[in-house]
């Protein structure tokens, strides 16, 4: 019939009265990489979950090679050849890598229907997983328990799981949000191979450069509505951003307006057995220090150690020349250190608490009347912060679960700011955040530095490291390999040191 493998007609979906998707049409050609773009909350993930059968649409239909999939359970959709890498990492922590990859498609000792059907054949899946991971060029042991992997490694396993299904259509919902350049390159090679085999990919990402590298076609959604579909070649970055946010963004990375001041934090020969060693750097008031490196380089571990979340074995940390050793985050916060974790769900916000309650959580001492809460001051401070950070929320009482990723991130940043830190460590601050919000966060980070704070920014996105940092510390396998100034740093140089 046609060269379309998947056709979607008139999908609509509301959550408790709020329209998340409104009459969406979408066509996917065989063997193409089709990017789906839109701001946080545009409805991309919801749309994809409808395709895979995890969310039931209110109306509309999904045709896979002409066959109507509407109403199919995810079990059937997976069998019919659609697989999906989910935005939130969906793994079973206690099972092994191989068991996770083949979850739902276990190998049985005698194949289906035999006397031993229902009996697991784990040696078979271990073998297959090893071959698969090897082919992908990822060094992860199939028998390792999932919970012992880093987030980046988990993400690679999820990719392996999706491609092991021999699917005709693979949905990738922000597959690169937790991995660094090297793995991204691996993933893109995999995508090109799949494409060559005629597999179609729907690709979602908030990283602009990736979109133009990999996609053939781009469809944009905004506020649950279909905006348009264009060939990637017809678009440039600015035009795409305009389609997504409905306006132009001129300069992505704001410049410093204040000079760098005195030293606030200094770290000398910091080491933690098996994680990192001999880390020496300082950050000054008004300065942004970028921390670059590949996955597992130890950047997060250093930040955690400084913040008192992990212990460290050797070296010295000083704030304004006074040596400190925070044993708990409380002590670190009291010393003027703030930390925005890369693990927004795990270490960031409390999902079932309101925006207000989350934002004031680290600074309740400013709102106490005895043991009681001064709701008044709390409310006004929160409203101020919502305005300052341009947080999009229905109100101070909104539960944080219901905010978009970028706004959740802003809530966490707001919480850290309200504890009046002098030094802020931001770990992957724009992970999963849309362009518009990214831009807001960059402006925010720069303005914090301009207000005299010292900023440490950990990021796996080289453009933002290069665009925002005053100096860049590059790490490789727990060792520091370079400390570059803004002027000398280039993407290639950083990568060279990162793999050193």
């Amino acid at each position: 019939m046609s060269d379309y493998i998947l056709r979607v007609k008139g999908i609509s979906k509301s959550f408790s009265g709020v329209k998340a998707l409104d009459n969406i049409h979408f066509d996917l050609k065989k063997g193409e990489v089709h990017a789906l773009m839109g701001e946080n909350g545009a409805g991309k993930s919801t749309f994809m979950k409808i395709l895979i059968g995890l969310v039931v649409p209110d109306s509309g239909e999904v045709l896979l090679e002409g066959e109507n999939l509407s109403g199919s359970h995810v079990t059937e959709t997976l069998k019919k050849g659609i697989s999906m890498i989910h935005q939130e990492i969906l793994i079973i922590p206690e099972l092994t890598v191989a068991q996770n990859i083949f979850l739902g498609r276990e190998r049985e000792v005698s194949g289906k229907g035999g006397i031993l059907s229902g009996w697991l054949n784990d040696s078979e899946i271990n073998r297959q997983a090893a071959a698969l991971l090897d082919r992908m060029g990822v060094n992860i042991a199939p028998k390792a328990k999932m919970k012992h992997l880093s987030v980046a490694q988990m993400q690679m396993v999820e990719i392996a799981k999706a491609i092991s299904n021999n699917a005709k259509v693979i949905i990738m919902d922000e597959p690169t949000s937790a991995i660094s350049e090297k793995e991204v390159a691996t993933l893109f090679q995999i995508i090109r191979d799949l494409k060559a085999q005629g597999v179609s990919i729907i690709y979602i990402s908030h990283k602009m450069d990736e979109i133009f590298q990999i996609s053939d076609t781009i469809t944009v959604l905004r506020d649950g509505k279909y905006i348009g579909t264009k060939r990637a070649a017809e678009l440039d970055q600015n035009a795409l951003i305009a389609m997504m946010v409905g306006r132009e963004i001129d300069q992505m990375f704001p410049e410093a307006t204040q000079p760098v001041g005195h030293e606030l934090l200094s770290v000398k020969n910091l080491g933690r057995a098996g994680k990192f060693a001999n880390i020496t750097f300082n950050v000054k008031s008004g300065e942004i220090l970028g921390l670059a490196g590949l996955m597992g380089a130890g950047r997060t571990e250093i930040a955690r150690a400084i913040f008192g979340l992990d212990h460290w074995d050797e070296g010295e940390i000083s704030i304004k020349q006074t040596p400190i050793r925070a044993r708990t985050p409380r002590e670190a916060i009291d010393r003027g250190i703030g930390y925005v974790s890369e693990d927004r769900k795990g270490l960031g916000f409390i999902p079932r608490m309101s925006v207000k309650d989350n934002i004031t959580l680290s600074s309740m001492n400013n709102h106490r009347k005895g043991g009681f809460i001064n709701t008044h001051s709390e409310q006004s401070v929160t409203e101020q912060m919502i305005a300052d950070l341009k947080i999009k929320t229905a109100g101070t009482g909104q539960h944080v679960t219901y905010l978009s990723g970028g706004n959740q991130q802003k809530v966490v940043i707001g919480r850290v700011l309200l504890a009046s830190p002098e030094i802020i460590m931001l770990d992957e601050p724009t992970r999963g955040v849309d362009v518009g919000a990214k831009f807001e966060i960059y402006k925010l980070i720069r303005s914090l530095a301009d207000r005299g704070m010292a900023i440490i920014m950990i990021s796996s996105e080289l453009p933002e490291i290069l665009g925002l940092s005053d100096r860049i510390l590059v790490l490789s396998k727990g060792k520091q390999t370079a400390l570059l100034s803004k002027a000398e740093a280039t993407q290639e140089l950083i990568m060279r040191y990162a793999v050193a």
Partner: protein
């Protein structure tokens, strides 16, 4: 969604109102002032324990030692409440002190070791029962002073004193949960413990408080019970923990932590009390009472859930 979660919160209210309506229609004796006062009186002890365990469950914990704490504190208080020995304040302080100490012990073990609260409080449940028997030598402690017996048996302006205690405790617990920093921290710890720690909350301290408060409220329940039956009984309170936890969960507190309200718990306790009262009023055979009780509890929570489904 927000709208719906609000409805969810009121769902159990509606379920409760519905059940009361059915009861009022099936027996005229149900909706009399004297019967309502009796229900309030009967509900008071379970409600006090349920308030305590609500705090604990909100932080993501559990406390199975409630019933044993009722026994220990009851026996301890009774031992100092004989007529013409000590002033009333002594047995009260002894009871409340014993309860707080046991609660604090739970908190200490839970925060210092990695042992799950279920096991720790199961352990102290057994230990507490043993202590109550040792303290009382296995015999009820009776012959208590009239002032002491007033606590559970007296009236003020026709309102049973336990109801007054219940209302005060409800008010205080609601305030603690909603208006104090400690209450805020409880939700945070239960909602996401690592995030709470990373926000600078001293998680262990919050847990210590929560188990201690739970012990204190159990002690209040123990004193009320002892005074109501005018004896300190070493085997009192067995199984109370399940009723209290049930009241909290029926009232919308989630065992996974981070949510729950005192109002919900109060409704949960009232629901259980109303059912058991009316099954007696309707003279349902005791075997069938249990069946009906189970069905209604599940039914009420199903009804509550209908609004939340999505």
């Amino acid at each position: 969604m927000n709208r719906f979660s609000k409805f969810g919160q009121y769902g159990i209210f509606l379920a409760f109102a519905l059940i009361c309506l059915v009861l009022a229609l099936s027996t005229p004796k149900f909706f009399t002032i004297s019967n309502l006062l009796i229900i309030g009186n009967q509900v008071s002890i379970n409600a006090l324990l349920a308030f305590g365990v609500t705090f604990v469950i909100i932080t993501g914990g559990i406390d199975l030692s409630l019933g044993s704490m009722v026994a220990v504190t009851g026996v301890a208080a009774a031992s100092f409440a004989h007529p013409d020995t000590y002033p009333l304040v002594v047995p009260l302080l002894v009871g409340l002190g014993a309860g707080s100490a046991m609660g604090a012990f739970n908190g200490l073990v839970i925060t210092k070791s990695k042992v799950p609260p279920f096991i720790v409080t199961l352990g102290t449940m057994t230990i507490g029962r043993g202590l109550a028997l040792i303290l009382s030598k296995g015999r009820p402690v009776s012959n208590l002073s009239d002032e002491f017996n007033f606590i559970g048996g007296g009236n003020i302006a026709g309102i049973p004193f336990p109801i007054i205690i219940l209302l005060i405790a409800f008010a205080v617990c609601s305030v603690v949960l909603n208006k104090t920093i400690l209450g805020r921290y409880m939700y945070a710890v239960g909602g996401n413990e690592p995030a709470a720690r990373a926000s600078g909350i001293r998680v262990s301290r919050v847990k210590m408080w929560v188990y201690t408060i739970c012990g204190l409220l159990s002690a209040l329940g123990g004193i009320l019970l002892t005074s109501r039956i005018t004896t300190g009984q070493p085997n009192a309170g067995a199984g109370f923990e399940l009723d209290a936890i049930a009241a909290a969960i029926i009232g919308g507190t989630s065992t996974s932590g981070g949510t729950g309200t005192m109002t919900g718990t109060l409704i949960g306790a009232l629901l259980i009390g109303v059912i058991s009262n009316s099954l007696d009023l309707l003279n349902v055979t005791s075997y069938y009472q249990q069946v009906v009780m189970g069905v209604i509890i599940i039914g009420a929570v199903v009804l509550d859930g209908v609004g939340k489904k999505d």
